[in-house]
Symmetry: C2
Subunit: 219 residues, 2 copies
DNA sequence: GTATCATTCTAGTATTTGTTAGAATATAAA
DNA sequence: TTTATATTCTAACAAATACTAGAATGATAC
């Protein structure tokens, strides 16, 4: 028995696992996963936010469905997609974190979009939360309001990036404002920090999004 | 600024992350990663154990190197490959665990190779370790001896599968013997359990390998 | 019925990938 | 020098993939 080392059965097993790998082997599908890790979204929203046609989005989403990484749910005219579980957004965090650790090209690309160093804000999560709880910093969620509603960091306040300019009066000038958005590849928080600094606020950029925060919280 | 939503920079970022995804999108590369999660190995060993030609193994390993998931090290005539860090074997565990959770086809394939249910052995790690520490069970590593030497479970004893038949006398008949090998897709422990049961031992199969054990330990 | 949201089918194109094979090359041990 | 180990180059083939486009189809809301 198992003279052939169990070749046939092994081939089946690894081929199945590779279905997950194939699903995360495309840049656009990774972007869709990241968007979905903010919460459920329609195909229309996804295609606009990922800058692709709806047909292409549909095709990629079908691949993700084939790999059972997303689920759908029709409500009215729209079909909502969502990740099939926290394990999926954890996988996204795992992969992009590993990529950031190992790929110099990615590190360099990320440096280009980095905001100035932020002496203001402690980099570790617990201290930041402690300060947020005490009101020593303002944690600012600059994503669209619906994403904030679905999930957000503890103590975070929501001002979507495109409303920020007109709502500056809501923010204090005597305390640091820590802006975050969808994660390290999202540029909204960076833009928010630049705007806030120009307007005389002290502001810093938190690279983590909700997915990264929750993935870190569960270990 | 960022009128185009940062499209160009985003495309670069996701493309880089997709290098990791591409690396894990091939069944053979996943198998190589699993083999390497046992410890460093030569190309020759890898190609034999994955049942592919050395040239093909070489090509796949080059892909893994391009994604910076493996490192090499020449010693004498041989070139040894190893995973670039624990994060890589954690990624393997993460992916195959997610696949097992979500893909029915994989679940069914795994059922086919499952040993009979094992009332004998507690399924949670801590209890098993407690019993192993007390000597209430024998944890048996049936992988090749060099893999055992590089890394093994606490309290595990090594008897490679192909020596097991001739070394049965070393094992007790009054206590359960819990066999493990490289992980859930490795058939050696299953074979060992079947042999042991035929020979009158009480034996059970631990699906975890060293990578799964360590990944679980770090959370 | 009409408009909106989404998928599917067909079709085409360009690119990449997995695999095998033969020949050449590089490294180091014996 | 010979041998074992490993990579590279060339070539070739089949298959899969990413993307685009046009047209048709379904489902739902109004």
């Amino acid at each position: 028995m198992n003279m052939d080392n169990g070749r046939k059965i092994k081939d089946v097993l690894y081929e199945q696992v590779a279905r997950i790998g194939k699903a995360v082997s495309s840049p656009k599908r990774l972007e869709l996963i990241e968007l979905l890790s903010q919460g459920e979204k329609t195909v229309d929203t996804l295609s606009r936010e990922a800058s692709i046609s709806m047909k292409l989005a549909s095709a990629h989403l079908r691949e993700l469905r084939n790999a059972q990484l997303v689920e759908t749910d029709r409500r009215g005219k729209n079909i909502f997609y969502r990740l099939a579980g926290k394990a999926v957004s954890d996988l996204w965090v795992n992969i992009h974190t590993l990529a950031e650790e190992r790929l110099v090209e990615l590190q360099m690309a990320l440096q280009k979009i980095a905001t100035e160093p932020n002496d203001l804000v402690p980099s570790d999560r617990e201290t930041l939360m402690k300060m947020a709880r005490r009101g020593e910093v303002v944690v600012l969620d600059v994503r669209p309001a619906d994403e904030y509603l679905m999930k957000h960091l503890p103590f975070a306040r929501s001002i979507p990036l495109d409303e920020l300019r007109h709502r500056l009066a809501e923010l204090p000038k005597d305390r640091p404002i820590v802006a975050y958005c969808r994660g390290p590849y999202c540029l909204m928080a960076k833009d928010a920090v630049e705007l806030l600094r120009r307007e005389g606020f002290s502001s810093a950029h938190l690279r983590d999004g909700v997915a990264e925060w929750e993935a870190a919280a569960s270990r």
